[in-house]
């Protein structure tokens, strides 16, 4: 049974709770967000798409997945060797973690010039990451409209106070995977959750129900094969990576917004850009340039480093590494366990446009939970 704090926290972040209307009344829903000034001519250059970079990267990505999965399977089937484990681990991370950034970019439709390639990758990566392509498209649309607006944004991963046990368990998909299957069964039965009904239009819902039935059928075949063959291999290859290979999804994902401002209309107050090495940027498809992405979602991932150069003068100093970001994230999230008004507020560079803070509510502080305050 959940505690009063947990119940109040979930009620606050629920899209069907009172915070939704409060955000609307405060002018935070669908608000006017700050954007750095970039000349139209330059912006058009940055928005321009090409199939080449994303097709090249997708071929490498899928090739690595097939290679690691194939070698791991061969080592396991032919030699019964534990040397299969590192290959499955690499396969699992590519499947269970990095499918997230492919899902993200193809969902925005910016990575490819050819729409059909983006849609094909979106369907594939949605299956791999265990997300319904339709509900999550609408969920992510809302995330961009109302980023970290409490009661409006369905994708706030780290609440105040954080659900630490859930966050840690999710390094192994122990929350996301059961929730994903629960949703698949719900959708297959022709129903949405109350939150989903808040952002998925009626006309889109039959597609949700159809997709859930297809995804469940694929998992049923994998499980059936595993039972029939007396081998874990089918579920190690299909679905399993979301559990044993999903930890990098969390490592990357928490850098985006954890510990930062809520109820603001300026992505420099609620989003991080973190410098990463070439390998991580390939695996994460440059989503480490997250302030840039939120400010200008039309720019494809392979142009984000250039966009960063265009607007960095308007932002806080970039985090030089994942380590630097986590040195801030962990203490901030822990402090928010006892002080839900705390958030990370960074200093902008000299000469940057001031923060967009039009009303007293938009100051980045979450309103404290009554029970937490009284405790």
């Amino acid at each position: 049974m959940s505690s009063p704090v947990a119940r109040e926290r979930l009620e606050r972040y629920s899209l069907t709770g009172p915070e939704n209307q409060a955000a609307v009344d405060a002018g935070l829903a669908g608000g006017a967000w700050f954007r750095s000034a970039v000349p139209r001519k330059r912006m058009k250059e940055l928005m321009r798409r090409s199939d080449y970079p994303a097709v090249r990267d997708t071929i490498i990505w899928l090739g690595l997945i097939l290679a690691f999965g194939g070698l791991g399977s061969a080592l396991w089937i032919v030699w019964h060797s534990w040397w299969a484990v590192p290959f499955f681990l690499a396969y699992g991370v590519l499947y269970g973690s990095t499918a997230d950034s492919r899902w993200h970019e193809s969902g925005h439709g910016t990575a490819f010039k050819s729409r059909w390639i983006a849609e094909s990758l979106y369907e594939l990566s949605s299956f791999m990451i265990m997300r319904d392509p339709t509900t999550w498209r609408w969920s992510h649309t809302r995330h961009h409209t109302d980023t970290l607006v409490v009661g409006r944004d369905p994708e706030i991963a780290v609440m105040r106070p954080a659900r630490l046990a859930k966050l840690l368990a999710n390094y192994f998909g122990l929350v996301d995977v059961p929730v994903a299957f629960s949703l698949m069964f719900r959708h297959a039965a022709g129903r949405l959750t109350a939150d989903e009904a808040d952002y998925v239009p009626e006309s889109e819902r039959p597609r949700v129900y159809r997709t859930a039935r297809v995804h469940l059928a694929v998992y049923a075949v994998a499980i059936g094969l595993a039972i029939g063959l007396g081998s874990w291999l089918p579920v190690v290859l299909i679905g399993g990576p979301r559990i044993y290979g999903g930890f990098m999804l969390q490592v990357y994902g928490f850098t985006q917004h954890a510990g930062m401002g809520e109820n603001v209309l300026d992505h420099r107050l609620n989003t991080r850009t973190v410098k990463m090495c070439r390998l991580n940027r390939f695996l994460y498809w440059n989503m480490n340039y997250h302030v840039e992405h939120h400010m200008f979602p039309m720019v494809p991932y392979y142009r984000l480093p250039e966009l960063h150069e265009e607007i960095k003068h308007d932002c806080a100093p970039v985090y030089p590494s994942l380590w630097a970001a986590y040195k801030e994230i962990v203490p901030a999230v822990l402090r928010q366990l006892r002080d839900q008004e705390y958030y990370v507020r960074r200093e902008l560079l000299p000469g940057a446009a001031p923060f967009n803070e039009p009303t007293p509510l938009n100051d980045g502080r979450a309103r404290p939970l009554p029970a937490a305050t009284a405790a």
């Binding site: 669908g30 439709g109 609408w138 409209t145 979602p297």
Partner: protein
């Protein structure tokens, strides 16, 4: 009764681009296609109130800068989620290098 309003000079818009036009407090978007034909639509995306003039023109398609919703700007047809409602279009003519839009 409708009237033709001068919106801009023909050269004010680059080929395969869009510019904003405001009249009587209403926003419009004026397009120049890659083959130098001119079109006009309402200024805002039908999904949320985002100005289409900040978006990207690709051939006969305008993509909204906020959520990447796409419209065929020659017909106004919405091309898929998250835009589900067509955008209104307006007749356009070019006379003496001036682009006119017919407004109701």
């Amino acid at each position: 009764m409708s009237q033709w309003i001068a919106a801009c000079e023909a050269d004010d818009i680059d080929p395969e681009d869009v510019i904003p036009f405001e009249h009587d407090g209403n926003d419009y978007a004026i397009y120049r296609s890659p083959d130098d034909a001119y079109f006009a639509t309402d200024g805002h995306c039908t999904h949320e109130k985002t100005l289409l003039c900040d978006g990207l023109v690709m051939g006969g398609v305008i993509e909204c800068p906020k959520h990447n919703g796409r419209f065929d700007y020659t017909s106004g047809k919405a091309l898929g989620a998250p835009v589900l409602v067509d955008v209104r279009t307006y007749p356009v003519k070019v006379m003496d290098d001036t682009v006119y839009i017919e407004l109701p």
